[in-house]
């Protein structure tokens, strides 16, 4: 027998949906959470296997994942089935849409890097004149960052940098290896700041162990897995969301559930796809789209994987001291920090993750046979690598639309996604490569390879925008509390709300924004406004 005794419906169970449940259930709000995928049982679904026991020796089933380069043969069953969940992109502009549909969403696999955004992002237009400011500032979000960081146990080192605000961190006071110290010294000479990585810690740092169990322990959270939401219903009299229509993933049976308040956290592109698919007399261009910008201003952070790969010469042949190799670090954005005209041939900036102690790929050596085997033995553990993460600019023409005919396995219209990197991102990537070479050479490392080839848009899994917040309802979909300008009982909580993104990994900010939006919702309910 269906139970309609809930105050809010939450769609999605990852960083935003999980945090919404965490905040609201603890405040006594009855939550119904719909998740498109099944729940993971770590005991039953996971086992240890040797790579030679896999059918494809670790290569993976050919053609299974045309766009998900992160999927390995070990974890292939965690990622979405691209055949059942199709989408399109322009033929010459590939877009890699990387998805997980499981209870916990992508927090089951995220990289955990947790950096705050700064006012260089929140007030980006004030700084360099491009794009739009957020309707909030760091001061508005800082109290929520302060609470999320301890919750997900972020470790790192505070540096007092304006572009990378300090946090409530578990202090990382570990001593850097000698190779990291040399790199840091080389960076310092060129005025490039370096710091420790800043990451959520623990065996698992996911919605499924940190957020949802706490919410469920209150007795106020019902989680329904395998519920793929097709469309949101609207009350023709009030224009408010009043129903959620979903399909059971396994049986394909259709269901509807009433909604007093809707919190949408299905992930950036899925949330916008759902709003675009929810057309009605009041909202013929998609729900909450009076501005016409729903679906537009898609962006992400571009990645250049292994921008520079180098060898630490003293580590060849395993001859270096024990503390020579190992460890990792981070370079925050450091370009174009002065207001006004940019000092570089691009706007904004980029960051690096770097690490010491890996073994470079045999592909990088122009050898084979015994000669290659000797080389690989010589450079084992002697590698130093860096990956570039750059800010890409949100542009009006970069967008998600609904494909006119293509549908997924459940008959739901599929998206068409258009994003490409422009001269600004290419110039950034080239500068990052050249700077990386200089820093490695300055540290006395042998540069083995360097390139500035960005992975296709989407592959960083940091897709953002398309349902952006803003102060002006004519140019944005949401207000500063993630609430739709047009539909006051609709909140969109995931990365789609971002008007800009910087170089920082977005999950921490998604969680902080969600916490803030949910507390605003509680206040609005208390005042009888929702």
């Amino acid at each position: 027998m269906a139970n309609f005794d809930h105050d809010v419906v939450i769609i999605g169970s990852g960083a935003s949906g999980g945090m919404a449940a965490y905040v609201l259930a603890q405040a006594g709000v009855k939550c119904l959470l719909l998740e498109a995928g099944p729940a993971v049982d770590f005991t039953r679904h996971r086992t240890l296997k040797a790579v030679y026991d896999l059918p494809y020796r670790g290569f993976g089933e050919p053609g299974r994942f045309p766009h998900i380069t992160q999927a390995s043969e070990f974890d292939a069953n965690l990622w979405i089935d691209e055949k059942k969940n199709p989408y399109t992109h322009p033929e010459n502009d590939p877009y890699y849409w990387v998805r997980i549909r499981l209870v916990g969403g992508k927090t089951l696999r995220w990289g955990r890097a947790s950096w705050r955004l700064s006012d260089y992002e929140f007030k980006c237009k004030d700084h360099d004149g491009w794009g739009e400011n957020w309707p909030i500032s760091l001061a508005d979000l800082a109290p929520f960052y302060d609470r999320v960081e301890p919750l997900i146990r972020v470790a790192g080192r505070n540096e007092g940098w304006a572009q990378m605000p300090d946090g409530k961190l578990l202090a990382d006071e570990s001593i850097d290896s000698l190779s990291i110290q040399r790199f840091n010294a080389s960076a310092k000479k060129l005025g490039v700041p370096t710091t420790k990585p800043r990451r959520a810690t623990g065996t698992l740092a996911s919605s499924v162990n940190l957020l949802l169990p706490v919410a469920q322990a209150t007795g106020n959270l019902t989680i329904v897995p395998n519920a793929i939401v097709r469309e949101l219903g609207v009350d023709p009299k009030t224009g408010l969301v009043n129903a959620v229509h979903y399909v059971d993933r396994r049986s394909k049976r259709e269901y509807s559930v009433p909604a007093k308040v809707l919190l949408l956290g299905a992930s950036t592109l899925e949330s916008t796809r759902l709003l675009l698919n929810s057309k009605s007399r009041q909202y013929p261009a998609g729900l909450a789209n009076a501005s016409g910008v729903l679906g537009r201003y898609l962006f992400d952070q571009f990645y250049v994987k292994n921008t520079v790969t180098a060898i630490v010469p003293e580590a060849r042949g395993g001859k270096g001291p024990r503390n020579l190799m190992g460890g990792a670090g981070y370079v925050p954005r450091f370009t174009n920090l002065k207001p006004g005209k940019p000092e570089k041939n691009y706007l904004r900036g980029w960051a690096w993750d770097f690490g010491s102690g890996g073994t470079p790929s045999p592909e990088l050596f122009p050898q084979w046979g015994e000669e290659l085997a000797k080389t690989m033995a010589d450079v084992q553990g002697a590698g130093f690598g860096m990956t570039t993460m750059g800010e890409s600019l949100p542009r009006f023409e970069h967008r998600i639309t609904i494909h006119p005919t293509l549908k997924d396995e459940w008959g739901i219209p599929a998206p068409h996604i258009e994003q490409r990197y422009t001269e600004n991102e290419h110039n950034m990537a080239k500068d990052a490569m050249e700077t990386g070479i200089a820093l490695c050479e300055g540290a006395g490392f042998e540069v083995l390879s360097a390139h500035s080839q960005m992975v296709p848009p989407g592959e960083s899994i940091h897709e953002l925008g398309t349902c952006r917040m803003g102060a002006d309802p004519k140019k944005s979909v949401l207000n500063g509390y993630n609430q739709a300008h047009d539909v006051r009982n609709l909140f969109v909580l995931d990365g789609s709300a971002f008007p800009s993104g910087g170089v920082q990994n977005p999950t921490l900010t998604i969680m902080a924004l969600t916490m803030r939006a949910c507390e605003y919702l509680l206040e609005q309910k208390k005042q009888g406004r929702i």
Partner: protein, 187 residues
């Protein structure tokens, strides 16, 4: 293999007891020793022609030879595995391999009047010269260089990830390699 593999499997199994000495357990959770398909039978080739396969096997031995008693591509049956992998790979990948192997064999016959698989080491290596080109992120424009680069990576991976190499590592008391959490279908 499979005599060696079978002997390894038998050696790793508990001593066999006469049937009458085994006490059947009422427990449902009895653990049986199981073997993989390639421990029992010889894989059937289904993609490369005999000449292409011989060329690939010879190339694999040049790329990843057995060194110091450690298994190489031959012991890892890398060529046989790649025949299986390529059979279900995208058409563009299949063509890259077919054209690359044909080109390699044709070059051998033109220069030495015998197939690549029959060449001595130095003569074979001379035909792999495109692999000496400095690495670039983009695949080489020359199709033969692109094929050799792809084949080199695949051969090394198929060898490294093989049972033969894992067994050798275990015998040498190296740390077990390639053991990772595997996720079953979640439904």
């Amino acid at each position: 293999m499979n005599r060696r593999r079978l002997l390894q499997t038998l050696a790793a199994s508990p001593a066999l007891l006469p049937a009458q000495q085994i006490n059947p357990s009422p427990d449902e959770n009895a653990v049986l020793q199981l073997a993989s398909p390639d421990a029992a039978g010889q894989p059937v080739r289904r993609f490369f022609t005999p000449v292409q396969f011989a060329t690939l096997a010879a190339l694999a031995e040049r790329i990843a030879p057995s060194i110091g008693g450690r298994p190489g591509a031959k012991e890892a049956e890398a060529a046989g595995f790649l025949d299986f992998l390529l059979a279900s790979s995208p058409r563009s990948r299949q063509s890259l391999y077919q054209r690359g192997l044909d080109t390699l064999d044709r070059a051998a016959r033109a220069k030495h009047q015998k197939g690549f698989a029959e060449l001595a080491g130095a003569d074979a290596d001379a035909l792999l010269a495109p692999l000496k080109t400095k690495w670039t992120y983009a695949m080489p424009a020359d199709p033969q260089a692109a094929f050799l680069r792809a084949a080199k990576a695949d051969i090394i991976r198929a060898t490294t990830n093989s049972r033969a190499v894992a067994d050798a590592n275990a015998a040498g008391r190296r740390r077990a390699t390639g053991l990772n959490p595997y996720w079953h279908v979640i439904d």
